[in-house]
Each structure stands twice: as structure tokens, then as C-alpha cells.
Point group: C2
Chain length 432, copies 2
Amino acid sequence: MKRIDWNALDEGARAAVLQRPVQAVSDALRAGVQAIFDDVATRGDAALREFTAKFDGVTLDDFEVGEDEFARAREQVPANVQAAIAEAASRIEAFHRAGIARPYEVETAPGLLCRRVQRPIPRVGLYVPAGSAPLPSTALMLCIPARLAGCRDVTLCTPPRKDGSADPAVLLAARQAPGVRVFKLGGAQAIAAMAQGTARVPRCDKLFGPGNAWVDEAKRQAAQRPGGIAIDMPAGPSEVLVIADRGANAAFVAADLLSQAEHGPDSQVLLLTDSAALLEAVALEVDAQLARLPRADIARRALEASRLVLVRDIEQAIAISDAYAPEHLILAVREPRAWLERIGNAGSIFLGDWTPEALGDYCSGGNHVLPTGGAARAWSGLSVASFQKAITVQEATDAGIRATGPCAAVLAHAEGLQAHARAVELRLERAA
Amino acid sequence: MKRIDWNALDEGARAAVLQRPVQAVSDALRAGVQAIFDDVATRGDAALREFTAKFDGVTLDDFEVGEDEFARAREQVPANVQAAIAEAASRIEAFHRAGIARPYEVETAPGLLCRRVQRPIPRVGLYVPAGSAPLPSTALMLCIPARLAGCRDVTLCTPPRKDGSADPAVLLAARQAPGVRVFKLGGAQAIAAMAQGTARVPRCDKLFGPGNAWVDEAKRQAAQRPGGIAIDMPAGPSEVLVIADRGANAAFVAADLLSQAEHGPDSQVLLLTDSAALLEAVALEVDAQLARLPRADIARRALEASRLVLVRDIEQAIAISDAYAPEHLILAVREPRAWLERIGNAGSIFLGDWTPEALGDYCSGGNHVLPTGGAARAWSGLSVASFQKAITVQEATDAGIRATGPCAAVLAHAEGLQAHARAVELRLERAA
């Protein structure tokens, strides 16, 4: 792991430390995804069947998971995993429910009532990758807020396994959105299906969830099309930034760095500490723990690009973190709450020694679909609001138009929009 | 204006009525914007100076509006317009302030506290078009929520006039964000500057505001770039859909249709009514009012594509409106509140005969930057939340990890992520 003394670096070298590798989309990938969109638009389910045979190695007559497969899933998932899914779901629900936005109204002038109300996005499309392992936790993070938002049509795509079935734990988790329709479709073809609709797969208004490079590019293309659909957020490799002081537990910190590193070779891992002793202790612990990990190869590759950074003090660490805007930020410092107010940019924050990031991945209650790649400057992690939109409602009485119409008319004239002014003035004449 | 009897149409013809013209981006426009991005990235302010000379016909040594120009603006704007700006600002502020999200917290398990807190997006870039007329109202709609959100750096670009000055009313409105920096830059070059930063213009994290085709395409390209920035919402021509019953005032309805039509020849105008008599009365009123409008040419072109649709009843009108998902929806019906709950998709709703859409454009208190082109299915109009993001904060005690760690570990093992499990189990061993 690369050791860096922040205060020995000039400005350019500091910027390089915080530079994420550019996730370049190759022309071949872009064209490949475009071809999949076009083919799915033209040939619909027949194209989906062919892509599934080609990419997932299985030929499916019907992509949709039926009641029998849901029933089998309940028999196949071990009881302790079922219990853990239920326990995690209850905390995710409790936290997400408490954050639901409420309508509000203000009488902004006598006789003029302004309201803001929430409405579900009618048709949402969720993607749950399988990749190196199935991710029932991601199904929970997508299905629970979709249900709480009241979305009418919830469509979930997840890649089929070689035997043509869906991962049973993912199916159990998906049922957190009771009416969910699950399709065994993966990759760009799943996104193309949900973005455009086919005879079998409903067209969606917004797409959610993580994926591989093909899925990410497909979501990007879906969002770009004219009259296109919304997507949850830009995609990128997962990241953790840990700020630790000399009181931190080196074994815990090392374990947190490794739990990020095992996601993939492109995972971003950063430690900022004001203690040279802790820095070395963490490096030793990482090596020791790495030896015992099944996914050590993946983690080792991610750690090659990781950085252990010595800083002057925690204040400096916070400033560096804010410039980086990490997806996950762990504050393994004494009095972490005192520093919280200073954090401007992060996806999700973990306070103190007893809060591993893994808790947030599964069952703290917070969502684990979070902004990466610096997007935490402008984006939020998923919440019920991600599955809703707000509508402004205005209602004036004749008194209301008398109170506010003249202001509107003056501004309309100032902007040279006489028909706007006229729509107000006509009413002012009648309301007088 | 085209008259349509909805119930005489087959499904295909109905879909055609609700079809918006595709806003095709030509290859030339796309390449032109890309070239501007590249040139601004390479040559910075020198490129901005050249584009401004070329597109706005004025050579500026300094794009930034200084204190002297702000002071002159205050002398130049008529007193009644200044008063109207202040009055509109106070209502916009009151309504937006009431909608600010508050942090909340839930103890999701004994010893585990989950919080969601808001943080301003640090650097926001606002675009206020000049086009056919300057739009101080748009400056209000962008600057007031940016201030309420607490954004640190607020940058506003607006095209220079031929004499090199900015529109004074726009400058007055911009001061609603006290520390705002205003640059006299228009078109794609303004967006390229705020998206990438130059020596003079700060790089921004999110871009807001309407614009012409060049601005829209530039925002789209800014959002697509790797490590790119956020944008407020996809762009499109402005739209109104009016639902009127036989009790509606034909002159008011016609005035509302015209106030939409005068925005531009591509404005979308739809009337749905269950009264053939009202439909004809509105058509007559439109012709009569049109003759008196200064922007009659623009409005006439928009009206050529407009549709007056006879429907069976208001319930059917609501269903059609929901399928269309209009930016502005006027409910010129008796008992409009009773219908409100039935509306699923709209940007902003205006209830009853006394609430012209123009009121929402200027001074009801609601924001006039709204989703168009059907985006109202998934997007909201601007609010303070558009200028903020939310961060989840988790804090476990040793009791908290004991209560929730086992659940996380089971799920981590189920997903084959042993390092995740290990980060939890290590703590469980020490917390025991």
C-alpha cells in the first residue's frame, strides 16, 4: 500500500493523490450498448432471448419469475438468511419511512395558497446485479423505498443463473415490494428492456441500481435519449475514505479498508490519519488480514492503488475528504460527532470505532446505493424521495389575484411577455 | 387550432395527439457544442472572449459584473419593477423556506442511531437566458433557493447585451443570492465555462436554468462527461395543459393558452374539455385576443400545433393529462381540489378560474423551473432540495454492533463478501 505524507506534497501531487482513475467508456462498449438498445427496440423479446443466451449462457422461454419460482425460493434460502433479510428490511423500512417528505402549504398572500405535494413515480425499474455474487441486500435497498413511495409498477431485473433460475435470496428480498415483477434479465439488455419496454417487460419512468460497465453505460444512454427516462445517479466504483486518529483500532480500520477493497479491483480505498504509528499499524494489519480472505486476489489489486496518507491533524483530514467527496466516510476518531458538522461532501458517514461501513451495506437502516466518483458533491444516496417527485399546487381566490396579480403583470411587461400580463389583467378586471 | 374528439379516435390516433415533437439534436449542433467545450478547456477565457464576440457581437475585456455595474442597475430599473422584484422575492422565499428538509434521526436498534442530514451543494452554476427578452424572474427562481440552501459559491451567467452590459433587472434579481458572481456569458460557452472552470469562471458542481438549444445540449454534454457535474433536469419547450369544464371562463382559458403560446413557436398548448360549447368559445376568444398581442407571430406558430380536445368527462381528462404529464396543468373546473388527488404527473398545478399560470411564473411563491417533455413523471420542479444533497450518518455503540452485527455478518456471508463479514465479526469479538 502506498504511503503518502500529505504535507510533503506540492499542489499538483496532492491533486494526483485525490484523482480517481477515469472510467473511460470505450467506443466498442458504447457502440455495443447502442446496438443492444436498437435490437431490443426492433425485435423486442426475441432480441432479449438471444442476448440472454449469448451473455448469460441460458435460453429462457419466459424471463418472468412466476409464483412457483418465488415459492421455491422460500424453500431454498436458509432460515438464518431469511431471518437476516427480514431483520434488515425492518430497519431499512423504519429509517426510510421516517424520512418521507410530507406535503406542506403556505398562504403566500391573502387568498393565495401554495402547496407542495408528493407523488410516486408510476413505473420504476430496478436492477440487481449478480456479478461475482448475488446481492439480496441491493434488492432490499431498491424495493423497500419503491414500496414506501407508492410506485404503481415495480419491475426488477436480475441476471439468470446458468440453470435459468434467479437467485432465491434476491427473490425473497424483492418481495419487499409486494407487487414486484421480476425478470431474469441482465446487462445492457435488461436496461434496454426497461427503458424502452417490450411485449413482456414494462417500460419504466426511472431506472435504479448498480451494475457492471455495460449496465452503467446502458443507463447513461437511456438517460440521454430524447424523451428519455430518469436514472438514479451516475455510476462508478465503490469507495471508502477512513479518517482515523491515534486512538483508532488498527485492526478495525484495516478490516474496513479490506471490506471496501474486496468489492472489485477498481475499488477506491483511502486512509487519512494524523498518526504515523497508526498508519503503520494499519498497514501491518491489512497484510495480516488479507492473507485470510477468500477474495484476497481482488482486494490485493484494489489495494495496489490505495493510499495511506499522513496528515497534520484531523482538521486537515476533513478538508481533504471534502475535496475528494467519498461515497463512504468513516470517522474513526475520538468525538466523531464534533467533526460531523464540518463534513460537506460524502455519501454516507460512519461515526466512531463501532460502526463498520458493512453495517450500512446491510442493516443499519440507511441505503447503500450511494453517489460515487465525487458525485457526492451534488447527489444524495437513495431515499423514498428518489422514487417520488414533488408537484407545486397554487390556488388563488379573486382576493388572491387582486393581492398578487399586479406584481405578476409588472414583471410580465418588464419581460416583454404581454400575453402573460393579459392573463392576469383580464382576471383583475373581473375580480375588481 | 386543431379540434379533436378524443372518443372518436383509436389508440394510435390518441397516442399521436399526446406525442410531443421530438427535439432532435442535429449532429452539427452536437459537434458545435463539443468544439466549444474543447476550446474553452484548452484556451479558457480567451476562447470565451472570442465566442462572445462571435455569438453576442460584443468584445468584453472582463466578463464579470463589477460593483459599479450592479450600482448602475439599481438606478436604471424602474421603481415599480424593483418593487415587483422585491415582492415576488418575498413570496418565493416564504414558500421555498417552508419546504426546506430538516435532518431527522431514528434509533433503528438499541445503540444504533441513523440520521439523514442536508448539506448545500458547494458550487452552483445558474444560467439566465436573454433570448427574446431578459428574464429577471428566472434569476429569482434560481438565486433564492441557492441562497436558502446555503451554497458557498453561486455563479450566474447571462448573455451580454450589444453594449456589453448585463440586463439591469436580471442583476437586481441576482442579488437575491448576496455573494453571487455574475458573468456576462451566454450560450454553450457559458455552460462550458461553468462545467470546466476557467481562470475567471469557477468550476461548478451542478448547473441550473433554462436556455436555448445550444445551452440545453451543452448541459446535456456536461452531465455526460466522466466525473461530470449534475444538471437540474432535462430541457424542453414549455407546455400547458388546461382542463376546463363548461363553467370555465372562456376568456381566461384563452388567455392562459396564449400566455403559453407566446413563449416560442415550439410551445405545447393543450385544452381538454367536456363541453363542446366551451371549446368553441375558447377558440373564438383565442382568435380575438391573439389579434391584440405584440408576440402574435410567435403565438400563432405555437397554436398551429395546439390541440383543443373534447373528452367525455373530467375523469377522462385527468387520465389523459396524467399520460401526457404536462409541465403546467390548469384545472379550470368546479371543485378543483376534489380532482387534485387524482393527478399523478405534472410539474405545477393551478387550481380554479382565478389562478393563471402566469402567477406561478412570477410571484405565487412556487418555482417556475419545471420538468417538461413528460419528465414530470419522474422529476420535480426546483426547490431548495435541488441545491442540497442529503447524507446518511450512522453511529453504533458497542451495544449497537452487538444488536445488529450478526444480521450484517449473515448477509455478508450469503453474498460471498467475507471481508465485509470480518469487519463486523472483529468488532463483535471485542464488544462481547
